[in-house]
Amino acid sequence: MYRYDEFDRAFVERRAAQFRDQVDRRLRGELSEDEFKPLRLQNGLYLQLHAYMLRIAIPYGVLSSGQLRGLAGIARDFDRDFGHFTTRQNIQLNWIRLVDAPDILDRLATFDMHAIQTSGNCIRNVTCDPLAGAAHDEIEDPRVWAEIIRQWSTLHPEFAFLPRKFKIAISAGAEDRAATGFHDIGLRLVKSRGDETGFRILVGGGQGRTPRVARQLAHFVPKRHILSYLEAVMRIYNAAGRRDNIYKARIKILVDAMGIDAFAEAVNTEWGLIKDGATDLPELEYRRIAAHFAPPDLAEASPVPLALALAQRHDAGFARWVRQNGLPHRLPGYANAVISLKSAGRPPGDASASEMEAIADLADDHGTGEIRVTYQQNVIIPHVRRDALPALYRDARKAGLGGGENGLISDIIACPGLDYCNLANARSLPLADRIFQRFDDPQRRAAIGRLQVNISGCINACGHHHAADIGILGVDKKGVEHYQITIGGRAGEAAAIGRIIGPSFAEHEVPAVIGTIIDTYLACREGDESFAAYIARSGTDGLKAAVYDDGVARARAS
């Protein structure tokens, strides 16, 4: 992973000192709240329902065990002993005092972390495939480019006051595990016909009020030109993005207004002026950064170790866990182990400080000391020898982290919702737990198979409900929490937006509605087709009828 050099360290220390001065000036009244707000947002401090929330950056989701332990310490010393991993691979603490924030940033700097640009109208955390560098299907490690783009976008003086937030994601695998289709800019590493490596560029994806699947902006940009290309995109957006209405200020709206062809032309004209200039990275600097991502030295290991086979035979729970949470690795003797942060009574993606320390231990003891945060609000220990999986599972279970939910109906993505968030119409966390508990039978979960349930507490869609097999959107119906159901969303290469199936439901009805949807799917599916395949094949009419026309759903709920 990228290691800070002296320049990087000095940078975060100076940034922390700058913010300390800004906080002092704000408390003294030398800065108004209006002037201070963008400054604190760009240091990750966001005023929520109960308190300030601090969103700490985890660049492209990569953490060292030491950094994770450092975060646990901050959660204990400055917050309420837990943190929340987000859909953008960051971590949030919910009870931060403004007066403590400078000390927290200083402490973060001691282990090479910060909260720069995790909020505000700027380029946010560049997210990436959580299996980068360990994936079986990638062209090259996308983290090199995530790091390059991170540095280029950090405190970029021209782009610090954009019309709105800007989110970039990078994928390099055959399977898109970074949801690039739902980002302002999605980058997919590809090979040209001449075997040159470059990027396919997607633009204008997003969730929120006007969900969009990103459209292709360029089919191939050589990788050496990615920064100048991105700069051209940002310049067009900064100059022409709407600033009169925050709900119409994202780049997807600009692309809609201009049309993709006109937008592409404007970008290409600007790019023509600046490529081969000082923006693109010199070869020396590229190699310096790429060297940090050299693959770890992994000893050869058997792909079918006896210890693993025996453990699977003796322990059905372990066998299920390996099947769901043991993801393929680029080396056959290794796996990438998902540690599910989804369990009964646990808000999805939340981990206590002691759990963070336990995860750090798992990484040190069974991996290479590295942890990845996923868009599904779980963590991954990459580079685990397959013969170490039984020991990892045993240690994870001891820490209460042995759930094998990955990709199943119980692997719910949920925003914090009205329990924490100022913007929400409804709570998401109690509902997530009720749905989790309704499907708590491991065999039933396995029978249902791969199914993504996402819950958003409001139309801002931070729970990514548009991109879920079953999306749940909290709405306010005369002061009572209601939920709308969408079906058929997808976050990967064939990104799609879910469709609303009908009027909303009261909270107590929703678990039964989900139950009806699952029952209908199981009854109607062909063979072992996934829920997504079933919907693609037969549409949503059957589900709609079962849910709305069938009185059973309503009767069951009352």
């Binding site: 700058q18 963008p38 970029h156 003086p157 021209e158 600033r243 081969d276 000082a278 020396l284 600097e285």
Partner: protein, 144 residues
């Protein structure tokens, strides 16, 4: 009001402004002819709101495409914490109230080092000048 020198931190009496470009105006609104007409007067870019970042793009356009080399002043609503962003995008001065001078000096001193090459940056290692800047090819290595 006074002019704050973004490079040195000095204060100047306001000079003559020959042309004001509204930060939100189209970039095609300002032309080479406008630059020529300035004579020795300064060029200003007006920020209606500090959080409207179009003025930064306008400054780079004026420097890099129109090759303007004179005094470029940020007017209107700008805050001290933008000092280094303004400088790095090509502004030479910010028009501020005298009472704010101490904050501007402090903000300038506290700015973190630059992560990326814009018009100039300590991290730059490239020997290739930005094509848009019509200045002589630099031969020296940029310092870190």
């Amino acid at each position: 009001m006074t002019w704050f020198d973004l490079v040195t931190g000095d204060l100047l009496r306001r000079g003559v402004i020959g042309h004001v470009h509204a930060g939100g105006a189209s970039l095609s609104d300002i032309t080479a002819a406008d630059i020529t007409r300035l004579g020795g007067a300064a060029l200003a870019i007006r920020f209606d709101r500090f959080s409207d970042g179009r003025g930064f793009t306008a400054a780079r356009h004026i420097r890099e495409v129109l090759a303007y080399t004179g005094t470029l002043v940020a007017q209107g609503h700008v805050i001290p914490d933008q000092a280094d962003y303004l400088r790095r995008c090509g502004f030479t001065h910010a028009e501020i109230s005298l009472s704010a001078a101490a904050q501007w000096r402090r903000a300038r001193a506290l700015a973190p080092p630059a992560m990326q090459r814009v018009l100039d940056s300590p991290r730059a290692r490239s020997l290739i000048p930005n094509r848009r800047v019509r200045s002589p090819r630099r031969r020296d290595h940029q310092p870190d």
